[in-house]
Symmetry: C2
Subunit: 410 residues, 2 copies
């Protein structure tokens, strides 16, 4: 019997037993902009996390990792701020610890049960006073319905709220996975400035929770590229509080596969939202590569196209300059035969073949323009030398990307 | 005694015995735009070449390589066109061969002695008629003083002519190396859409000619990144006709070192010109990394900064957002200790330290703005863990880059 995955509202509070809140504490000058957020589980959770591969790791990540090591992968809360990444400052870890202590004191839990996260400008001292003075109000306002306030608190140049949740059944018991994400610039394979917090009420061992997260991040967030920059502060944190009371998922069996697919759906949906809201983006680009000799090759090829600045500019210009696609496939770091490659461009307006066996073919420029004028463009690459496939997501490169990033700090 | 390298005019015709010409044959619609160029040596040359690493290799490159293999690295002429890359077309190699045959017939040499090169749009059939009908005029106009006409014939989105030449003495004999280059977009390590033709009258063995070229390309053109795209048609071709009549350079001795340094000066100067004329660029960015454990690390770190879109946008905005520099250093694919890193920004207006031991330090934003308002910006990275160093060149990312590439084909 096929599992049905129902999309539901509620974001990180869609699963049972999770509360959230967010408010303006004063890190941003604009009083209407939330900059401090909190997610809390009523009961202790198994927790798993994936961090940036950048050698420069934000202080909050170092503290988060230490806390999870100390507790053996148990957590109760996530405290997060925007405007300031708390990274490359001599007092960064101490500040991140302070954030955790302040939240823990107010919640009546241990500081190690709190995961800190920060996003924003690198290398500016994080003022702790605004956070300290607003912690009481933040905790008082915790409620399942305040999930979006928490999302708003981690937005930087994001223009839309990013939340997703799915509900499904494991052995007759209803389970839910919910998530939220931020980040629209400095996004590239291996966890750019994205913060991703995911919650579930499923009962699952910490080991399998981490395995599912690591596996799914590889084919979702790590297949996302906005600009090729890999940030210092990225993390995905997944907390499972077990409130659904399903029979514990403790081995890689059918129940695990059902959970894993649910997690994929939430993360893939958030990934797509992140791509579509890329800084300055006017178009979502979704590139699939199939017929690859192995999945690694499929991922490398799809990502190579998605991150090519020349291709991204062509998409902004709605120009079917497929030579740039083939060029980006050609410099992908993988072994395959380029001369078998087919390429098609598609949107809701239809599809158009532009390249067969690595060579250009005639096509109607008029039809191509019609396909490319849409805001979701699909690039389909067929390597025709195997069975593996992968998808990568990105967006076009526009005037506004340059504008947004030309003077971000002011 | 230190060798003196005198900068001279004349580009590829600065060395004895080289002639050049360029004209409009009709590949571009604009009759004022040269699109066909020729460089010829009066006598046979040793020739060396370096090609793109892209799996998609332009047909002219395949033919060039075949010709050099056939002749054992001997050549007489280079024929080049712009507007059309003659790549990813079923008849590409045949067209490139035709170009060579047409030039050879007119010059009275063997087709294998001609090296073909093309730059422009990928995947459009190259019309051979305009080339055929203008070959006679092209050859008739060959003259040392027409070197710039040949440069104009390979320009695409380039806005300035790129030529350089140096004169120096080997064992009391005056030798000259001259070069020309094109390419301002799709430029990235490993020979983007740059065409580079270099000539010399020095007497040097084919083996050492190739070795010098490969070595110097590694620390010049391959340390250049405009946008991270590696093109299909890049090549550097170096021809030595021996007309200086110096004692042959046949081993890696002092004379070889003198030649190698001269070649470095010509290629480094062209590389800097390519960076400064990057598509849409308003600023040249020159990033040096020193104190690295080895040269490979220094190259990888300097390149990583130069290619970061976020950093490039910040430079366009004249914003001292050094966190992006440290971030790009942090995701460079090399092993080193990030916590020792110092970073300074400099221009003719002075220099300013922004990061010490991987941490932000206080600096005057006013002074930083003053430094960054210049059109040549130097980024100095000190890893403080070794003696190796390297330089990479690039440019800022601007509105105009997006504009130029949004609809290049029209």
């Amino acid at each position: 019997m096929e599992t049905i995955y129902e999309q539901v509202d509620g974001g990180v509070c869609a699963p049972h037993g999770f509360l959230a809140n967010g408010l303006h504490c004063g890190l941003y000058a604009d009083p209407k902009k939330n900059d401090l957020g909190l997610i809390v589980s009523e009961t202790e959770c198994s927790a798993a996390a994936v961090y940036t591969t950048n050698k420069v790791k934000g202080a909050p990540l170092l503290v988060a990792r230490r806390h999870l090591e100390k507790t053996g992968g148990r957590a109760r809360a996530i405290i997060a701020n925007s405007r300031n990444a708390n990274t490359c400052n001599a007092d960064g870890e101490e500040k991140a610890e302070q954030m955790c202590r302040l939240a823990a004191a107010q919640l009546g839990i241990a500081p190690e049960q709190v995961i800190p996260a920060s996003t924003g400008v690198i290398g500016q001292i994080l003022p702790i006073e605004p956070i300290a003075s607003h912690m009481e109000a933040l905790v008082k306002g915790l409620a399942p319905e305040n999930h979006s306030e928490a999302v708003k608190a981690i937005m930087t140049t994001d223009t839309v709220l990013k939340e997703a949740a799915v509900r499904f059944s494991i052995g007759g018991t209803v389970c839910t996975i919910g998530g939220m994400a931020k980040g629209s610039g400095m996004i590239h394979p291996n966890m750019a400035t994205t913060l991703n917090f995911v919650t579930t009420d499923a009962v699952i061992s910490q080991e399998l929770l981490q395995k599912a997260l690591s596996d799914i991040v590889k084919v979702t967030y790590n297949c996302l590229s906005i600009d090729g920059d890999t940030s210092t502060n990225d993390m995905v944190c997944l907390m499972a509080n077990g409130r659904a009371e399903n029979h514990e998922i403790s081995e890689a069996d059918g129940s695990y596969e059902i959970f894993r697919e649910g997690l994929y759906r939430v993360l893939a949906r958030l990934t797509r939202m992140l791509a579509k809201d890329g800084e300055g983006a006017t178009k979502l680009l979704e590139c699939t590569c199939d017929g690859a000799p192995d999945q690694e090759t499929a991922i490398v090829v799809a990502k190579s196209v998605i991150r090519s600045p020349l291709f991204k500019c062509a998409m902004f210009g709605e120009d079917a300059n497929w030579g740039r696609i083939l060029c980006a496939i050609g410099y992908a770091d993988a072994e395959f035969d380029i001369t078998k490659t087919d390429v098609e461009l598609a949107s809701v307006k239809g599809e158009i073949a532009v390249c067969r066996n690595g060579m250009g073919i005639e096509f109607s420029e008029e039809k191509a323009k019609e396909v490319l004028c849409e805001d979701e463009i699909f690039i389909r690459i067929h390597l025709k030398q195997g069975d593996a496939s992968a998808t990568a997501w990105g967006c076009d490169l526009t005037y506004d990307y340059v504008k947004i990033n030309g003077d971000y700090r002011s």
